[in-house]
C-alpha cells in the first residue's frame, strides 16, 4: 500500500520537470528518527524504505495526502518538499531527511485559506475532492515557479494530476484566479 518503492520507475509517462527524487539509487536503509513537517521537527521511528506517504498518513496522522495509485501517475499524494511538489508515494522517507515537507494541512494560516484553496472553493473545482490536496499543492508549486502561467502552461504543469470526476476546466479557472490573487497580494 501507498506505493512500492522498488517499483518507483514503472511507466512514468507523465513526467513533470519539477518532479524530483525519481531515480536516485538508495544504497542503504536505516531507521529514520525525525522528519521536518509543516514547520515542526517530528519524531518518528520508520524504516527508511517506507514511503513518505505512508509515514505521513499512518505515523503522523496527516491524511490530507492520498493514496491513488502508488506509482506516481495520479499525484493525489503530492506534498511540497522544500517547496517543490513531490509524489510522496514514490519517495522513501530516508530521502527526505533534512528537507522541509509541507502538506495540505499547513496551507491554511490562522483561519485564512491559501488563495489556491479559496479559488478551488470559489470555482467549485471539487466533486468527490479526493484529488483536491494533490491538485492544490501542485498548483501552489506551479504558481511559485511561474506566477503568471498561460492556460497551456497550467495544462502542462498539472497534467500529472488526475481528477477522475473531471473538474479540469474548473481547476484551470481556479489556478488562473489564484494567480491573480497572489499577484495582488504580493503588490
Amino acid at each position: 500500500m501507498y506505493g512500492n518503492y522498488n517499483r518507483r520507475n514503472i511507466g512514468l509517462q507523465f513526467f513533470r520537470d519539477d518532479l524530483i527524487f525519481v531515480a536516485k539509487p538508495i544504497l542503504f536503509m536505516s531507521a529514520v528518527k525525525e522528519i521536518h513537517v509543516n514547520g515542526r521537527l517530528q519524531e518518528i521511528n520508520a524504516e527508511g524504505e517506507r514511503t513518505l506517504l505512508s509515514v505521513l498518513r499512518e505515523d503522523l496522522d496527516l491524511t490530507g495526502a492520498k493514496y491513488g495509485c502508488g506509482e506516481g501517475q495520479c499525484s493525489a499524494c503530492t506534498v511540497l518538499v522544500d517547496g517543490v511538489p513531490t509524489r510522496s508515494c514514490l519517495t522513501s522517507v530516508s530521502e527526505i531527511e533534512g528537507r522541509k515537507i509541507a502538506t495540505i494541512e499547513s496551507l491554511e494560516k490562522e483561519g485564512h485559506l491559501h488563495p489556491v484553496q479559496q479559488a478551488f472553493l470559489d470555482h467549485e473545482a471539487l466533486q468527490c475532492a479526493y484529488c483536491a490536496s494533490g491538485m492544490i499543492l501542485s498548483a501552489v508549486g506551479l504558481l511559485q515557479k511561474n506566477p503568471n502561467p498561460s492556460e497551456a502552461q497550467i495544462v502542462r504543469g498539472m497534467n500529472g494530476n488526475i481528477c477522475r470526476c473531471g473538474t479540469y476546466q474548473r481547476i484551470i479557472a481556479a489556478i488562473k484566479d489564484a494567480a491573480k490573487t497572489l499577484k495582488t497580494g504580493a503588490a
Partner: protein
C-alpha cells in the same frame, strides 16, 4: 465466511415490461429492498439529539395515500417504514437523517438546499447525517439517479411539515391564528412584524413527533435557496485535508490488513506456506478456507508479509479480450423479449435506403480515485464498519450473512467517499477487513491497491450492438432493429418516431465480473444509435441536425437539440482543416441532452483531441445550477475516456493493464473547452442528473471524427492507440 464463492454473475432480466415507462430493465442496478422496520418509539429520536421537534417521512403512509390502494393508516399498530427524518433542536440546529451516500455528486449540498428551502432556515444551520445504518433510516442505495427525485422530495416534505408544526406551536405561543404567522430565517414571524419567535425557542422542552402527510411545498418557480448555486457544504474540509475519507480513518490499536489475491481469475490455492510471513514481527496471517490475509502494524509491513506467503495455484482456461465480442455473440441468449412496434420487414420494404452495422464497446473500469477501503472494529460480538460504498444497508446485510450474526449487530457507516460512479455497490473490503479484525481482536483498516481495484472490483459491461435500419429518401426512418448483446438495456429505446421497430437486449456470458456504471448501458446504446443516425444522415446527404429533427416529436428533446445547436453555432460555420463537428441526442432517467463536439485530428502525432464541447441539458427544475453544470462537465470528461481510450485488456484470467500507467484516464490535456446550456423547467419535477450527461459525448466525438476524416469508428474506445487517419 462467504468469500470463496464465485463473484456474483449479473443476470439480465430480459423481460421488458410492456409499459413504455418501465422498459428499461436497469439490470445492473441492485434494487432489492430489505424489510427494515423502525419502531415508532419517540424516545429514539430524542435520546440522540435531545428535546425538539421531529418530523418523519413514512414511505408506506404517504405512498399508500397517494395511490389509494393501501389502507395502512396512522393508527395501525404495525411499525412503519421511515425513509427520512429531521430534528429541530433546542439550539435551533436542524439535524437531518438520510441513508443516501455522498460520492462526489454533491447530493449533501442539494439535499441541504431542499431542507433550507422548505424550512426557511439558513444552509449553515442544517446538519445532514448520511449513510449510517445505526442512525439513518433504511435506504436501498445511492444509484439510478434517484436521490434528487426521491430523497429530495421526501426531505422537502418533512421540512415543510416541520415548518407547519412550528407555526402550530407559534399559534399557542402568540395566542393568534395561523393566518397571522409566517416562517422566515429560522423564526415564526407575525404578519405585522412586531413579534417573532425562533425555532429554537419553540422547540425548547418539546418532544413533538409528526409524520408526513400531504403538505404544501414551495413551487420551483418561487424557490429562493433551492435553484441557486449553493457551494459544496463541506467544501472547506475538502480543500484543507480535513475531511476524513474511509481510507483516512484510524482507531486506537488499529492494524493494517491486506488480502492475498489469486494470480488469475477463478484460481484456487493448492498449497499455502505462511511460515515466513508469520515470522515477521507484528504480523498475523489469517487463513480461512479460500481467504488468506495478513495484518501488520503498518501498510508496508503488511505488503511485505503478503509477499512472503508462498502459494501454489491452479488456473483454468478463460476467454481473453481478443475473443470477447465473438464470445458474447456466441453465448447470447435469444428471445429475451424486448420492444416491438409494427413490423421491421414492412418498414424495410418501405425503405429506399437500408443500413446494417455493428458496434462494440469494451469493458472499462470505474477507477474511483479512492480505491475500496474499510475499517472494521468488533466489540462484544458487534461489528462496526466504515466503508466507501453506495449501498451501506446492503453491505450491512452482506456482513451479517458472512459472519452469521443478525443485522442489528452490524453497523455500517459510509463517510463521504472518494467517488464511485456505480462502482461501489459492493462491500468486498468491508468483509475482508471485518474477517481480519475478528481474527486479531483489534480494529483493522484495509485499503485496496490500485491494482486490486482494477482487478477485483467489477467493470462496465462490454457489448456488441447490431442495428438494421431503413430510411426513405426524404429522411423519414421507416425501420429500426436494434440488438444489444450483454451491455444492457438502459437507454436502448430510440427517441425518434419510427413506425416499425424491434429492440432487444440479450444477456450473454460475461467473462469478467461486470456491474453498474454511471449511466449503465445507456452510453453504449446511445453511441450505437446516434452513430447510426449519423450514418443514415450521411447516406442521404442530410444535415445530421435536420435529419434528427425530422424524425423527432418529443418537445423536450427538440428543445435541447435546438439549444445545443444554437450555442455551438451548428450550421453557421465550417470546421477548419482536420477539424470536424459532431452532434448527438439522448434521454435517460428523466434527463434530456444534446451534445455538440469539435475534434481536431492531429495527423503528425496520430492523435485525436476534442477541442470544444457544448451540452444542452434538461432535467426538470434545476436544484443547483452550478453543481449541475459541474456534474455535466465531469460526466463529459469521464465519457471522453470511454469514448477514446479506456479499455480493460485481459488474457488468460489476468487483467493486463491494471495501472494508471497502462490504463489511460482523461487528463487536463484531454479536456475540451466545455459550454453547458441548462434548460430549466421549473414546471417539471427535478430528475437526478449525475449519470445521464455521460451518454452524449462518445457519439458526438464519433460523428465529429467522421466529419473531419470520412472514417467511421464503431468501437469504443475509438482511438486506444491514437488515431492514424
Amino acid at each position: 465466511m462467504n468469500l470463496g464463492e464465485p463473484i456474483e454473475s449479473v443476470e439480465m432480466s430480459g423481460n421488458f415490461s410492456e409499459s413504455e415507462n418501465s422498459f428499461e430493465p436497469d439490470q445492473y442496478e441492485l434494487r432489492e429492498a430489505l424489510p427494515y422496520r423502525f419502531d415508532l418509539d419517540r424516545r429514539h429520536f430524542f435520546k440522540i439529539l435531545g428535546c425538539g421537534v421531529v418530523t418523519l417521512f413514512l414511505a408506506d403512509e404517504v405512498f399508500g395515500q397517494e395511490s389509494g390502494s393501501r389502507s395502512r393508516g396512522r393508527n395501525n399498530q404495525r411499525p412503519q417504514d421511515i425513509s427520512a427524518w429531521l430534528h429541530i433542536g433546542e439550539d435551533g440546529i436542524v439535524s437531518v437523517f438520510t441513508g443516501k451516500v455522498e460520492v462526489g455528486q454533491n447530493v449533501r449540498t442539494s439535499l441541504t438546499q431542499a431542507v433550507a428551502e422548505e424550512l426557511h432556515v439558513s444552509v449553515d444551520s442544517i446538519r445532514l447525517t448520511m449513510a449510517d445504518t445505526a442512525l439513518t433510516p433504511y435506504d436501498a442505495g445511492t444509484f439510478g439517479s434517484r436521490s434528487t427525485p426521491d430523497m429530495g422530495s421526501q426531505l422537502r416534505m418533512i421540512s415543510a411539515l416541520a415548518r407547519e408544526a412550528l407555526v402550530d406551536l407559534a399559534v399557542d405561543h402568540f395566542k393568534t391564528g395561523r393566518g397571522d404567522l409566517s416562517a422566515a430565517d429560522g423564526k415564526i414571524v407575525r404578519k405585522d412584524a412586531t413579534e417573532s419567535v425562533s425555532y429554537a425557542d419553540l422547540a425548547r422542552g418539546r418532544q413533538l413527533v409528526r409524520s408526513a402527510t400531504a403538505v404544501d411545498l414551495v413551487p420551483a418557480s418561487r424557490w429562493k435557496v433551492a435553484g441557486t448555486s449553493v457551494r459544496k457544504v463541506n467544501g472547506r474540509a475538502c480543500v484543507t485535508g480535513g475531511h476524513k475519507y474511509t481510507s483516512d480513518l484510524k482507531l486506537p490499536g488499529m492494524l493494517y490488513g491486506k488480502v492475498l489475491r489469486p494470480p488469475t481469475f477463478g484460481a484456487s490455492a493448492t498449497s499455502v506456506d505462511t511460515a515466513a510471513a508469520n515470522a515477521i514481527p507484528g504480523v498475523t496471517v489469517v487463513h480461512d478456507g479460500m481467504f488468506i490475509g495478513v495484518t501488520a502494524p503498518n501498510s508496508q509491513t503488511a505488503t511485505r508479509a503478503l509477499e512472503a506467503i508462498h502459494a501454489e495455484w491452479t488456473s483454468q482456461p478463460q476467454i481473453s479480450s481478443a475473443e470477447l465480442f465473438e464470445h458474447l455473440k456466441k453465448t447470447a441468449r435469444q428471445g429475451g423479449g424486448g420492444f416491438n412496434l409494427g413490423s421491421v420487414e414492412t418498414g424495410l420494404a418501405e425503405a429506399e435506403h437500408k443500413l446494417e452495422q455493428t458496434y462494440t464497446i469494451a469493458y472499462i473500469a470505474h477507477a474511483p480515485l479512492e480505491p475500496r477501503a474499510a475499517l472494521a472494529d468488533w466489540e462484544n460480538g458487534k461489528l462496526k464498519v466504515w466503508t466507501g460504498t453506495q449501498r451501506p444497508f446492503g453491505v450491512r446485510s452482506d456482513l451479517a450473512k458472512a459472519f452469521g450474526i443478525s443485522e442489528e449487530n452490524v453497523r455500517v457507516i459510509a463517510p463521504d467517499t472518494g467517488s464511485a460512479y456505480g462502482g461501489k455497490h459492493t462491500g468486498e473490503a468491508a468483509i475482508e477487513a471485518a474477517r481480519l479484525a475478528k481474527a486479531v481482536g483489534k480494529p483493522v483498516k484495509l485499503v485496496w491497491t490500485r491494482e486490486e481495484e482494477f482487478t477485483w472490483a467489477y467493470f462496465r459491461p462490454a457489448g456488441v450492438i447490431e442495428i438494421k435500419s431503413g430510411v426513405r429518401k426524404d429522411g423519414v426512418i421507416t425501420a429500426w432493429e436494434f440488438h444489444n448483446y450483454n451491455s444492457g438495456g438502459s437507454g436502448i429505446r430510440t427517441p425518434y418516431e419510427i413506425a416499425h421497430q424491434k429492440i432487444e437486449s440479450h444477456s450473454a456470458d460475461s467473462p469478467l465480473r461486470q456491474g453498474s456504471y454511471r449511466g449503465l448501458a445507456a452510453t453504449a446504446n446511445h453511441f450505437a444509435r446516434e452513430s447510426h443516425m449519423d450514418e443514415l444522415a450521411s447516406a442521404l446527404k442530410l444535415d445530421p441536425f435536420d435529419f434528427r429533427m425530422k424524425n423527432l416529436r418529443e418537445p423536450r428533446l427538440r428543445a435541447v437539440l435546438e439549444a445545443a445547436a444554437k450555442a455551438f453555432g451548428w450550421g453557421k460555420s465550417t470546421p477548419a482543416k482536420d477539424h470536424g463537428f459532431g452532434i448527438s441526442l439522448g434521454a435517460e432517467k428523466g434527463s434530456y441532452l444534446a451534445t455538440c463536439a469539435e475534434v481536431f485530428l492531429d495527423r503528425d502525432r496520430e492523435a485525436v483531441k476534442v477541442t470544444r464541447a457544448v451540452v444542452a441539458f434538461e432535467c426538470g427544475a434545476v436544484v443547483n445550477p452550478d453543481q449541475l453544470k459541474n456534474q455535466i462537465e465531469g460526466a463529459l470528461m469521464m465519457g471522453i475516456g470511454g469514448a477514446l481510450f479506456e479499455a480493460i485488456q485481459f488474457e488468460k484470467g489476468k487483467i493486463k493493464n491494471p495501472h494508471f500507467a497502462k490504463y489511460r484516464l482523461p487528463r487536463f490535456s484531454d479536456s475540451p473547452q466545455i459550454e453547458v446550456v441548462l434548460v430549466n423547467r421549473t414546471d417539471l419535477p427535478s430528475a437526478g442528473a449525475g449519470e445521464t450527461p455521460i451518454v452524449g459525448i462518445a457519439p458526438a466525438i464519433s460523428n465529429a471524427i467522421f466529419a473531419a476524416s470520412g472514417v467511421r469508428l464503431r468501437s469504443m474506445p475509438m482511438a486506444p492507440q491514437g488515431l492514424k487517419i
